[in-house]
Symmetry: C2
Subunit: 464 residues, 2 copies
């Protein structure tokens, strides 16, 4: 079983044939025959020249997954049949609510562990878990009100993934302040109970676990409650929020709060680099500029946003404005940074009928631009010192298989493009978190045991 | 080394826990504990009830790949950097031409073998190869004018994939009848040489190899030449053509031939079920209806059409019209029927902002609708008796891993949706073509040897 990140990983020296280095303020780039030392706490202690090893290790900092609802892994593929000719996000949500009602801490643990193992195999080394399944199905808190949160923490620990747990504040069923529906009861908190949950969980923070704050959405958190919670948070707490995913939600916000969600949020909260705006699909030009100026990160979830028919994020305008962004697997219908990144770009191509849209910096590589973007926001969005392998950072990295056919004849200038835009075999060979190897030869080291528990949980969840 | 399809596969009886059956005129569906016998020629001889085996074999007819340019596998990932702020299909084509100039029969063989092995591992058992790289780089025919065709035939034989080879007629560089450019010289034929090539290749046809005809596009084949070639073809020859991929091409066709490409083609050729229209992205409503009425198949290539910024096929209107369609991997930036099928659906969702668009028939499953569609056109588009496992059909099938986590607690009603819409691990465990197993436990049985030859070819192709 992998240790929790940071537990006694031991001193090590890592050599890479090629190492992806990204210093702040500079473009990331490949460095030849580079390596680094790791201290016993799983942090980078020093950077070295490596001996030319003849190995084919292409080492990249682990990717952060900025948005995850772990329990939804269990319903992947189960909402792809028509329930209504007008199927949309909103009918999907009905299916999701029915499914959510079946979880308890044990099944959540088993499903999250399967998911996190899959994330690690795909190259995600940190997950930001946007967690709203707090209480028992009837809405009453569990004997331990943090039981569901602890199930997620325990799944992260069992798999070795680095976790930013974002307990969600969910108070009302719409912009009009209506009460939660029956099926939303298990998501809800009053402010005091919510702050108590954060306090409780913060006591368990360690190098591999950060506790942040998530506001479900503007429609679920009244303005006054939002202010109160934000004022009470530690100054360095990450804050995540679902925003502007659906046009209906944008319209409701305009009619009740007088402005679209992002505009309203920027005017009513001190949005800064601690913030991650999830989806942010439907934006005015002024909102695009406003987010970029604020320093907030947009968490884009291309596979989920396509699966749910949300729409396309205005990436090119946002890059031009200098905005920070990352990707998330969200509803888990796909667990792959490669699929997220390439379809983020492809969506732009389909709309503009041009190619190579997400291009910034030297070399003009789309893949490198996307990789740099996804890594650059990692630390601010997660609250962990990740996304690079400078001295002091978390020693989280993935090793791409330089011997794979996809890399035949590879040059540094095209390596990232080949990884992101070529084929469907997973190029991630090994994965380390805090210096501990959790994936070897493409398989999580506890893959079979985790899958067995997942299978049992699925039979339970799907029983009539 | 796999035998060529049909060579002495031996008598066998196959048992499936679940078998996907699709009789003509009926919806495909899962059948429990079903099986079939195979004769020595690799055809289905009889259908059986299987003994309940406790196995977790979910058996599906192999999928056809309706559109492939094999050589482009070598440039996957190499055209994803900006050459020009106005990058588009047309600048991509310049990169492709430079790359195409480097191939000879040996490198084409090595690259195609790698590609075909990847296709088999992904679940494609037949490939329709749209082949235009005919001559030496200077445009002169090789000593054997069919040398490049034979390289592809030989790659198919080495990997065991079923092949429909479609030598391409490519005569002019635009609708105005201009001559081929220097870099297009190696693609070109006069009609007599082209018909001679088809005759030569047809002599080598066997159960695993059909020779069809491809017209590169309306812009590359003058109207009179098209009529002459079509008149000379055998009555059952498949005919494939690139059509209406790019808006520029549609506009040129309107201005020079007086109608958009599909309208012009339907008015000037007897388009019927032998025809496959590749891309057909930009259509009027009347053209949508016209293709559907003709019985032709549209080959949709969602990953390539997104990568090239082509646009989205009007799938829902075409399904309503009863049109036949299938998918192709085209430029090989992805080799996965799963990615093609799910993004075919997702494109529609992004445009309509609704979910579950491609739904026909009982059950309302999107995955089943897509699978049925991709199989239903397989025989007519390829000229092989494939896409089903009825008596007399080619015994080509893929076995999905029923023990995989993606299938935990699976029901027949959601199995195809889970395959298509859940996760990124490849569920294809075993693949048989003409009764011969070519993929076992997810690996092509010659994977390493084929990859070694591919690697050598790539070093040669990429050498300065």
């Amino acid at each position: 079983m992998p240790r929790s990140p940071g537990e006694n990983a031991g001193m090590q020296t890592i050599d890479a044939a090629m190492l992806w280095t990204s210093r702040s303020g500079e473009d990331g780039a490949w460095q030849i025959d580079a390596g680094f030392d790791i201290d016993a706490a799983g942090r980078v202690r020093a950077q070295d020249r490596a001996q030319p090893s003849g190995s084919a290790n292409w080492i990249v900092p682990g990717l952060p997954n900025l948005h995850s609802h772990a329990f939804q892994r269990a319903m992947a593929g189960l909402a792809e049949h028509q329930t209504n000719p007008e199927d949309s996000f909103w009918t999907w949500r009905e299916t999701m609510y029915r499914f959510a009602a079946r979880f308890d801490p044990d099944t959540l643990h088993a499903v999250a562990a399967q998911l996190y193992a899959e994330m690690l195999e795909a190259g995600y080394t940190t997950v930001c878990e946007f967690h709203y399944l707090h209480h028992a199905p009837d809405g009453r808190p569990y004997a331990d009100p943090a039981a569901m949160s602890r199930a997620l923490i325990s799944a992260a620990r069992d798999t070795g993934i680095r976790l930013t747990l974002l307990p969600v504040l969910y108070m009302s069923g719409g912009f009009d302040g209506r009460a939660l529906s029956q099926r939303q009861q298990r998501f809800g908190h009053g402010i005091d109970d919510y702050m108590r949950l954060l306090d409780t969980l913060r006591r368990d923070e360690h190098d591999g676990l950060r506790i942040g704050c998530a506001l479900h959405s503007l429609r679920a958190v009244p303005a006054e409650a939002m202010r109160e919670v934000l004022a009470a948070l530690p100054a360095d707490s990450p804050v995540h929020i679902h925003i502007a995913e659906q046009i209906g939600e944008v319209q409701d916000c305009i009619s009740i709060r007088g402005a679209p969600p992002v505009e309203w949020l920027l005017a009513n909260a001190e949005v800064d680099a601690r913030w991650t705006l999830v989806h942010a699909t439907h934006l005015t030009d002024a909102e695009v500029q406003g987010i970029a100026r604020s320093g907030a990160t947009v968490a884009i979830c291309p596979t989920t946003e396509a699966n749910l028919g949300d729409g396309l994020f205005p990436l090119r305008a946002y890059l031009d404005a200098g905005g920070a962004w990352g990707v998330g697997s969200d509803s888990q219908i796909s667990v792959s940074p490669v699929e997220e990144l390439r379809w983020l770009e492809y969506g732009q191509r389909l709309v503009t009928r041009h190619r190579n849209i997400a291009v910034q910096g030297a070399g003009g590589s789309v893949g490198e631009t996307l990789l740099r973007g996804a890594l650059a926001s990692a630390a601010r969005a997660s609250g962990h010192d990740i996304g690079h392998l400078e001295v002091g950072a978390c020693a989280d990295w993935i090793t791409l298989d330089g011997d794979a056919p996809q890399f035949a004849g590879v040059h540094a200038a095209d390596a990232v493009d080949r990884w992101v835009f070529s084929g469907n075999r997973n190029l991630v060979r090994d994965v380390h978190v805090a210096g501990t190897r959790v994936v070897a030869d493409g398989r999580h080291c506890e893959r079979d045991a985790i899958a067995a528990r997942f299978r049992a949980a699925m039979h339970h969840l799907l029983a009539d």
